[in-house]
């Protein structure tokens, strides 16, 4: 039996391949329905001009009822953007990936949200608790209970 996730992900992938991604977002790999990689660039004026970041999505069988595990890739010479909500291990503190996830969101919608999160950044800096978090962070960012304290970015 096809799980709820595989059918929905297959649909999203077909749509991406047919219609392409929004500007600045590219599919890097989606060899299976478990892990997908995208690159994100911020278009126009921003602190991240000329930079491209790799975003990793991991899905479990209950996607989209449960949120995907989304983080920036920090291996193979790739780096996480320097941003107040992005830890140096690639984990992202964004409410839509946690307690504000909704099953009507999609992979592309998440990419676009993170792209605009970078686009509206005023100052390149790591989260204040970066070192402490990274030292003890779980492998899967979904296991972290982030505290969303900043609605402006």
């Amino acid at each position: 039996m096809a799980s709820i996730s595989s059918r929905r992900l297959a649909k999203e992938l077909t749509e991406i391949k047919l219609e392409g991604c929004p500007v600045g977002i590219k599919l890097v790999k989606a060899d299976d329905l478990e892990t997908w990689w995208f690159t994100i660039e911020v278009m126009g004026d921003s602190l991240y001009q000329g930079e491209a970041f790799t975003l990793q999505f991991r899905f479990d069988s209950s996607y989209p009822i449960s949120a995907p595990a989304v983080q920036f890739v920090v291996t193979d010479g790739r780096q996480a953007p320097i941003h107040p909500h992005v830890y140096s291990n690639g984990h992202i503190c964004a409410s839509i990936l946690g307690n504000e996830w909704s099953p009507v969101l999609s992979v592309v919608a998440v990419c676009v949200t993170l792209q605009s999160m970078l686009g509206s950044c005023k100052k390149k800096e790591r989260p204040v608790d970066n070192d402490r978090y990274v030292r003890h962070a779980p492998e899967n960012p979904k296991k972290t209970r982030f505290h969303y304290d900043d609605d402006t970015v």
């Binding site: 709820i4 059918r7 999203e12 989209p64 009822i65 449960s66 949120a67 307690n99 009507v104």
Partner: protein, 99 residues
Amino acid sequence: MKVTVKHWHAVAQWRWDIGNNDTAGNEDDDDGDVCGICRVPFEGCCPSCKMPGDDCPLIWGECTHIFHMHCLLKWIGTAASKQQCPMDRRPWVTAERKV
């Protein structure tokens, strides 16, 4: 001339009455009437079902949003949903619907 009907095939088509009556020309718009959770057309069934129709009905919220009932219940059954509509995050209240 006399015609004798020897046999006949009845053909029927159905759709959920989701409140918009402009059925004409709307058929190719496959983005329009899909369940926002599973992205399968309302007239199809949710990923857990095999047969569309009465066994896999729709559910209407008072916020006017519509989903496959099974999809919505899966969502509402999780703590993460906070019992909110996936579309507008308002508290989910199932609308009474007279059929």
